[in-house]
Amino acid sequence: MMKIKRIIPRAGLICLMLFVGVICFYPMVSLLFNSVLEPNYLPRGMLSRISHFSLGQYYESLFENSKFLRGLLNSAFMAFSITLGQITISIPAAFALEKYKIPGKEILFGVYLILVLLPYQVLQLPHYLLMKEWELMDTQISIILPNIFSTIGVCILRQGMRYVDNSVLDAAKIDGCGDFRLLSKIAVPGAAPSIVAAALLIFLDSWNMVEAPKIFLTSVDKMPISMIFNSVSGTGRNYAMGVLCLIIPFLLFGLFAEKLKSFIDTV
């Protein structure tokens, strides 16, 4: 009787987790399976798929569909620029805010936090008018620039800078280490998990952006992949494109998953 009492919750737990696993992995598996079907084939039924096997659509969408490849490159360019730009600007700012005594820094950080919590919709008109004034409409800069100065990077990195040891910083200072050397030699390695986590989150977010490109971009050859590849039906060709879209995010994620996890464990 005791045994049954112990087994039932356990079995229930395993069932629940299997259910979660199926839901979470299904899109990935289904995408991969369907992506090896003929370009114009709409998958139906399990068995009939075998006779429609093809890999040509991968080649076709990468090398013959210039619109798709262009979108992929645009997405990569914008997402990498935003990530790199925001991280390079946020690291020193977060370090200064966390480790130095600056008058009024808590108020400033409060403003940064509010900006993070501000819906993007509030900023859309101000940004639109600004970009119009600067004659940057229909350029990718109009999307990259505001995102580089988005304050979420500073907020995440400040959290990470807390784990940089103060006594190490003080010791280095006494040994005559300059402030910028402190930043590059001690703070950056010390806050590495948070830097990687912030970079990953910013990148994944930029990879999916729709709101800003919708407003600022008009020419198709500048659009990111999330704009040109929209509301399409699930043929073999489109599934193959779906797979191609997720290669870069997955590669980056695979490379940095450990660091991300160690960051989440500390927040």
């Binding site: 979660v20 696993g21 995408l31 130095y100 509010i114 919709q121 990879w207 729709v210």
Partner: protein
């Protein structure tokens, strides 16, 4: 005099580090937002005339705006609680077993990493006319679901949204729950406290910081709602998923800047009030514990 000089010298490097971010935020965020404030009380493109609260009264009588606000709030009222509760229950269940929790961590990161485009392609395939779910429904003699139609698109949106953003909250909850020492529960069990009691007396208070963080993350994620809507409804969605973002897009398109400025100031104020309440609650909770 010398002392002041040394202090000045000390503050220069951190100010230099802060400068790029500060200048960018000033030019690209703060000043445009302030300009926006003056814009919302004026009218006209070249010669601006002060019109008081006319833009606001116009906005309140605008049917599209009312529809957009109503839909957006309705969406948040359903999606945010779901995003806060479902991952919490999963995390509390998963934490009982190490193998299961590491499996779940991997599983729940999948929707985070997968691009929207790839996820939607698969989810849509459930609901297309010859898809898995609709074939099943038809076979059962029920009417098939149309994700672009009035009846189902809102529900579909909620499902997609919860699926895509549960992962973040799950990871945060799990990390927060793992940090609570096992001994607390053991002592509570010895004293005869049941699972429910130890949840309310141990887990809930100790996870307060985590709850606060997840709430903030959920709010930030919920602003990205338009991405899913855009896939489902495109530029001209049906009335049930017409959101504030559509209202902005349409009015930018027809150059109604002043009306938009009023809308944006309104959303700003509402957000500030909510953020204020949030931080007030947080400081209260911190004082208590």
């Amino acid at each position: 005099m010398k002392r002041v000089f040394i202090r000045m010298k000390r503050i220069i490097p951190p100010l230099l580090m802060l400068a790029p971010s500060l200048i960018g935020v000033m030019i690209l965020y703060i000043i445009p937002l302030i300009n926006n404030f003056s814009e919302c009380f004026t009218e006209g493109v070249n010669e601006k005339v002060y019109v008081g609260f006319k833009n606001f009264t116009d906005l309140f009588s605008n049917k599209a705006f009312a529809l957009a606000v109503g839909n957006t709030l309705r969406f948040y009222a359903i999606a945010i609680p779901a995003l806060l509760i479902i991952p919490l229950l999963l995390a509390l269940a998963a934490v009982r077993n190490k193998k299961i929790s590491s499996f779940c961590t991997v599983a729940m990161t999948m929707p985070i990493v997968m691009p929207l485009v790839s996820v939607m392609l698969v989810l849509d395939s459930f609901f297309v006319s010859n898809g898995f779910l609709n074939s099943a429904l038809e076979w059962l003699g029920m009417t098939p679901i149309d994700t672009h139609g009035d009846g189902f698109s809102f529900v579909y949106l909620v499902i997609v949204f919860v699926f895509r953003y549960s992962g973040y909250n799950f990871l945060l909850y799990l990390a927060g729950r793992v940090r609570i020492k096992k001994e607390y529960y053991e002592v509570a069990a010895l004293d005869g406290a049941g699972a429910v009691r130890s949840f309310f007396k141990i887990t809930l208070p100790l996870m307060m910081p985590t709850f606060f963080l997840t709430f903030i993350v959920t709010i930030i994620n919920s602003y990205k709602l338009y991405r899913e809507v855009y896939w489902i409804g495109g530029d001209y969605p049906n009335e049930t998923i017409y959101m504030i973002q559509h209202f902005i897009n349409n009015n930018l398109h027809s150059l109604n800047y002043h009306r938009l400025a009023a809308a944006s100031v309104l959303i700003l104020i509402v957000t500030l009030v909510i953020v204020g309440i949030l931080f007030f609650i947080q400081s209260r909770v911190e004082v208590e514990s």
